[in-house]
Amino acid sequence: MNAVAPSAITFDDFRPGTVLGETSEVVSDTLADHWQRIFGRRADDGAGSAAEGASLAVVLMMRAYLRVVTPRPPGNVHARQRFALQSPPRRGEAVRSVVSCAAKEMRRGRRYVDLQVQGSGDGGRAIYTGQLSLIWAA
């Protein structure tokens, strides 16, 4: 269950201050439709609103992290999330998300890794800055 594939990224591999990679993804109708399937399609659910846009910014952060930082060992735990939204992304906007290692630290025998994901949209406008604090499994 907790076997780590030889190629999985481990705690020792992280170098604070280094960029790990980036993605570019359009805020598509498909993503918005997926969000509405879960959270609702009515105006007071936030469908088509800035709440939907803010959610899709979080989604893009997660998708960037999962695509860039791979393969991961099984059993990582998402412990803390900091998220600064500068401006919600617009439908159809391409968002560039850059993933970097912000910090790592051993605390009480646990391996903590902080990953920063910075999202920018059309013309380089700032969209979001997310910091995931993860307890890394290996």
Partner: protein, 125 residues
């Protein structure tokens, strides 16, 4: 300064919800989707994705302030207890000690906190 609590938002977290959120985020970690795998982990069973709760907080914020709340905001939360399949989540918040901030939470069926933290929306400043 606004001292009104946030309006709440709810979400029923069933297997279909978790599957749909996995597809939305491309996060197919078996801890969220594979009951047999999840049962053998320290968490002891399937749990929902943490950031699902962030989206629910955004709904609570939207119902309280509308679009203007999202014109710049800062969130800092901790995932303190797993969200289990079958639970109905409730997200909300109260005005915090700092001006314009809210102490936000997401709670499970038993009323205990799953997520806690602070939120500073544009509309609260």
């Amino acid at each position: 300064m606004n001292r009104t609590p946030l309006q709440t938002a709810t979400l029923k977290v069933d297997a279909a919800t978790i599957r749909a959120y996995a597809e939305l985020t491309d996060d197919f970690n078996p801890i969220h989707l594979d009951a047999d795998f999840a049962a053998k982990t320290p968490l002891g069973g399937v749990i929902a994705h943490g950031t699902m709760s962030v989206c629910l907080l955004w709904q609570a914020l939207f119902r309280s302030f509308g679009d203007r709340a999202f014109d710049g905001l800062d969130l800092d939360i901790r995932f303190i207890k797993p969200v289990r399949i079958g639970e109905t989540l409730l997200a909300g918040g109260e005005p915090g000690a700092a001006d314009g901030c809210f102490d936000v939470w997401v709670r499970g069926d038993d009323g205990s906190d799953r997520v806690v933290g602070t939120l500073r929306p544009a509309a609260g400043r």
